[in-house]
Symmetry: D2
Subunit: 470 residues, 4 copies
């Protein structure tokens, strides 16, 4: 099966030129001017379109249990929605149960994805307990090596959520030391959970139970502190570190300061932190604020331009979504009267490329190359998907998006493909959208029509972190 994409404006993290792309089977065979169309099975006219590598969202939570409920998108609905938005790979988070084995967590997530994933996926492993319930306090260190060999080459640790997911600094340091040897990359949820816990309990005791208090009880200093600590522990361990969902300038400054000293500290942010603010949340009536209850919370508006600057200057290298949807009516509702019971998370897997194109590229904050870089190329390189994913190059998987830069549309829960009853960006106008989406050479979205199928997505054995990847 050969497909020829003609006359598109091919955009990679560095280049931008008009040419044809020939796909042979699942990979890219050639890029050229006026490639011969004979012996080609399918021709796609990409005139006036951008031809970009499919987006890679390295931070999603599909089918994830949280506070007695489960995130609304499973691997089928979630990866389908991703595809509609131009994302052709995800890296989701498997979770080690406290007292359970790392490998069991991995198996559980494979099961969740099996027969459902519509696009290729990798898995990070959330480590919550180094003992794995055994008497050996460090048993899981060997398990970490083991899953790395299976292609799970990154881990996530929590400095927040004490008693649930949080691990102490000794555990963090041990895990970092292990990755310094096995080549994996630690992702860190960086907030000082213990201090926040005290503040939260005070708020509840004072009857401050509305959604807005979720945001007001998690100060940016608690994030900045934890980012600084995570980096310090990584420096001592001689390991790289990757801060997830960085939300505030105070945290950003810690990353910048470390990078200026040559430390291998990396960070991602998410569209919600770039585009929504605490001030927006404060305007939301009644219990509506629960829609934007996630962690870290929304910040004061002035932080947004600082994050955009961080993206421009490469202090932030990636934009992921932290997609973790809960329906407003049934799930977010659990926390009415007590914000601590609101399931944490928001939907976003479908809108990342759209939002960044409109508010990044169209608004001239970032170039179209940088847009590709932060949504696809760097995630691919950082998490060992490259060169299979993350670029348009000969031999790479034909995960390609034909992007219409001029299509005008409106984001809405009524029309989106995520299985959740609200949009954080309801009514927002966007110019630019995925028109045709190919995954390993197969068209899975065609002008708004779903052409893919559940289960076609494959687990990606990822390589280890590339070290000095740049």
């Amino acid at each position: 099966m050969k497909t020829l994409i003609q006359n598109g404006n091919i955009v990679t993290a560095v280049d931008n030129f008009t040419a044809d792309v020939l796909i042979d089977g699942s990979t890219i065979a050639a890029i050229g001017a006026h490639l011969p169309a004979q012996n080609v099975d399918k021709i796609i006219d990409a005139n006036g379109m951008l031809v970009i590598p499919g987006g890679i969202d390295n931070h999603t939570h599909l089918d994830m249990p949280f506070g007695g409920t489960t995130s609304a998108d499973d691997f089928e609905s979630g990866t389908r929605a991703a595809a509609f938005g131009g994302t052709t790979s995800i890296v989701d988070f498997a979770i080690q149960t406290r007292g359970g084995k790392v490998q069991d967590g991995l198996e559980a997530w494979w099961k969740k994805a099996d027969g459902k994933a519509c696009i290729d996926y990798g898995l990070h492993m959330i480590v919550t307990d180094l003992s794995e319930g055994s008497t050996d306090p460090d048993k899981a260190l060997a398990s970490m090596d083991s899953v790395v060999r299976e292609g799970v080459t990154s881990f996530k640790l929590f400095m927040a959520y004490p008693g649930v997911l949080m691990v102490d600094d000794g555990t963090i340091f041990k895990a970092l030391s292990q990755t310094a040897k096995n080549g994996a990359l630690i992702c860190m949820h960086a907030e000082n959970g213990n201090a926040i816990d005290v503040i939260v309990k005070r708020a509840i005791a004072e009857g401050k139970t509305a959604p807005i208090y979720h945001a007001l009880t998690r100060p940016t200093t608690a994030e900045g502190e934890a980012v600084h600590r995570a980096i310090a522990l990584a420096e001592m361990a001689g390991a790289p570190i990757y801060i997830v969902h960085l939300s505030s300038n105070e945290a950003l400054e810690k990353v910048a300061e470390a990078r200026d000293r040559g430390v291998m500290a990396y960070a991602e942010t998410c569209p919600q932190y770039l585009l929504l603010s605490l001030e927006d949340m404060e305007k939301m009536p009644d219990f509506e604020g629960a829609k934007v209850v996630f962690t870290p919370p929304l910040r004061e508006k002035w932080n947004q331009e600082k994050l955009w600057e961080g993206l421009r200057m490469n202090t932030l290298q990636v934009v992921s979504t932290d997609h973790c949807p809960f329906c407003f009516k049934e799930q977010k509702e659990l926390g009415r009267g007590d914000f601590t019971k609101i399931p944490n998370g928001g939907p976003g897997i479908e809108n990342r490329l759209q939002l960044l194109f409109e508010h990044g590229v169209n608004k001239k904050r970032i170039s179209v190359n940088r847009w590709v870089e932060i949504t696809s190329t760097t995630p691919a390189k950082m998490f060992g998907l490259y060169p299979r994913k993350g670029t348009i190059a000969v031999g790479s998987d034909a995960d390609i998006v034909i992007w219409d830069p001029n299509q005008e549309h409106v984001l809405s829960a009524k029309t989106h493909h995520m299985r959740v009853d609200y949009s954080m960006f309801e009514g927002w106008k966007i110019k630019g959208n995925a028109k045709i989406v190919l995954s390993r050479g197969e068209v899975i979205v065609d002008n708004g029509q779903w052409k893919g199928r559940a289960g076609r997505g494959e687990f990606i054995k990822r390589a280890t972190y590339a070290g000095a990847w740049k």
Copy 2:
């Protein structure tokens, strides 16, 4: 004329894959796996080789008058030497004479290049006198707009060399303000010339006349100060700024601090600052130190790793050469007994890619992609040569280097192609060299044989600085 480069390892600033490259005439027509070889005029076997975009050296001084003599390489010998080292474009510096017209400086340099340049070249314009000798103190501002329209889209100003090239802060600010409007980029030689001048005169008065005093009379604080000032002036003018030949950690910190605040400050360094040190100079006997008399001077060795870190973290974006050779025997000799009379400059146009491959890529300080980026892609984008130059992409000029990563050779004045009687890196062993060099599709270097000819190089009308180029 069609050329097919087969089976090379194609390396761009972002990608790295094995494929063929088809050249049709002067540009790249296709990149693909096993491209058909029929109808092809020439086949180059690149098996085991890297196929990279030709290097771009945006800081050279060919045929430049300095202190009563002229730099030893003219546009013929200099560009030929460049090509041997894998560099296929340069941007040289035309100079406005004090009291003379900007346009006259440009014409003079065109004349120097005409019939001589072996590879394509652009020109920056050094502005020394805004009045152009007229009664209008700002006459040259319009001339700046004029040369921008002719493709000279960057300028250089000096904060050093008082009475010769130095301009005051008012002039700098006016020029920056003009580029904020016309889109050009100001390159800055950043050293506090007035303070240095006092220190130099003291040294001479104290009988400190040996070459080493050239280095000892130019403290890093004088560089750091000027870098900070240049950036502050650019901020006030709302213009980007590009610091040339940054040599010290103290200066680097100023760039980092500005970038952390989101300021459009860029900087290059040169191989000599990455690889040679003040300590090396101190060991050179007799008058030998004159070989490394250039400005800024060599710094204490510990600065080197800081500069490498800056390259890795993108605080430094470019490595150029500041190639400005003077023969040791006849020219450097002018300053025996008085270091202030030593012509400032050193030879390097031929060795940049070699040195950075050996000490960057082979020593694992930077990736091979980053090597391409800092020596070709970013210079092309920063100075408006992209997309014609700086990448391997369909439609781009076929300025391509077939790089043998395994060729072992030794740098030496006996074998190099620069017209100068010494090498700053005499006897250094290198693994990696340009094997075949193509300029606009034409093989100009073939396994150490010169196949090009003087005058084939064309003047490149450059686009204006791309703004948020990333």
Copy 3:
């Protein structure tokens, strides 16, 4: 003549206790509990009062020519007004005329003060021309040494006012190098005059002639840049440096950064920068803004708290006034229709202690000890007046203020003693005022009555800067 001050609350930069102070002649003889009152000529009841060392204002411009007019207070009216506000010493600025001799400038200022000064005074010397009009470009360096021997142990240089007072970086560096040897201290007016000049001319060309444009044409970046440069030059010269009238956070950060590295950088601010803002100026109708035209100008309001923080943390060590009054009706008027012709300066010599007591001590921003330290003790130590001045200690001059912390009064041009027709703080309510003021043991202000006389003030031969004074 013996005077006994009974039962006052004695406040020094460090202490705070209730005791009597016995003055014998011009100096303090004893401090004790219930000192014997026999043989005492005069008893002052200080019950409920603070007994503080007289204020020292080390930045005044009395009888100073500027732009075709002269500052409204001469040494008589100015020092009398100072005394009313609790200031018992000043250090004024003598000016070397361009082309003239340093010594001539000093003699001119002695003449201005002679027979007029009501309190003791020192002089700094403003150096404008190192050649002193001779063919020796460095002639004034020896003159600097000479005036140091006469007790003029500090100099002022201007980085602003090109063509009038500004000197270039070479001159600054030479002067700093000279003080590194002779022990004097350089005071710096730090603004990038050349850049500002360009901005000012543009504004005038665009018809922006109102007073507010004085402020809008002098960006904080121009101040921050110059502060950074001044400190860098001082570092290279191995000399301390003192930044005068620091007005903005951007400048403050440069001082903090230098001090964090252990550099001997000091700075003062003035009450107008702590208490008035650009926003205040923007509200002033018609030409009223001319009342607050001085240099540096007023800044955005948020800078104020940063300056208070700087005072608290000792990044700023001194508060002086930069007293340089011009009458609104006749003098400021010169600049109607052209802000560049408004004489630069404002009145303040009388109100410094009052304003800092109300807005510093009463508002709990600084302790009463810190109030004494920044207005008296540190100026005395920094400028070589200590131990004669600046403290309440045995053997020191009895320059003592009996301060009523509870006296409520209103600042107004109608009641102040400065010879100027407006107050920058008209109508401001203050709690706390000087009740009785002694100079060398002599009561010169007694409950609002003037008891001093012109000419009683003496020139103070100052010691050189104390080096590591703390």
Copy 4:
């Protein structure tokens, strides 16, 4: 009882003048020139001597249990040794037992001091368990308020020693929040104990058991991290914070950065960090290194000048000793073959003023006023002893040291008064020593003779932290 100290050079944190001091009973009655000697019981000739406020050592561990042994000095021997060195007040650390009550810890320490203390003493309280062994996790917060009312107005928390003294960030944050209300000051031992614990266990597992590994397993990054975290927690709580025994530049930078932002962060260092280094320790043969095993450990030598700079610039406000002596022969010996069993601590209570006079004042690193400030005045103000202690002022306790600036002596375990069999500064030559020491008007040391007695020292009820004490 009246004592007259004649003709001494009185030195306070700010002043320096020659006068007599009259003591009436336990306090200072007068300071004056040639005070009348009639009715005076005792005359001390201080001609050629400095007359300074007695030193205050706010960090001592007398009679402290540690690792199965007890620090070698009890309140008698320790305070007597202090007095010999010119220290007339201490603040020692009472310890709450895990599971025990705060008040019980306080009572235990009162008992230790009772009948033994030779000089006045205060107590800090080390909090180890907020539950006090009860079911109320926050019970001790009220106990903190309670001891504050008894004059114990500062607490110490440990971020190191997990399982023994360490508390988690939630506890720290709660305690800081409590002091934000009750006005006390939290002292912090800032090292990341969990990370260090991992490193220590690795070292032991690798057979690295010698004393030097105590130092090598506690990286400066672990200290810098904890200092940053402690300050962040204090900022969030709105409380001041005081870092004890700061030892490295990395930690110092965190304090400087916080203070530059206006944060109420304070820090002390100790003579051992200013004067001894890791390099010194590495040279110590056999098990000798155990003599300098304390926490934080000795650092690389280059840190020393940074700490001196911090003292000069007031980034560090205090020098205390952390006196915690263990005899080399019997106590340090416990850790032969396992550095983790070496009792942590070193002797220093007697030598602080001597070492800082020699290496600070004599070596011109700090002024004599600053010497008094960092060893007496600031400790007094910071910890609520002022104005009773910390200065020479009318009404203050006559805790006075007659200091001979010219006395030459040699530090040695053979001659010192501390009850420990070694000196960390054995054989060091010092110029300057306490000649006569008065405590509340009573001579307790007279030319090397002990005149005091056990039990005369009183517990000092301290005031709460003064807030903006400067």
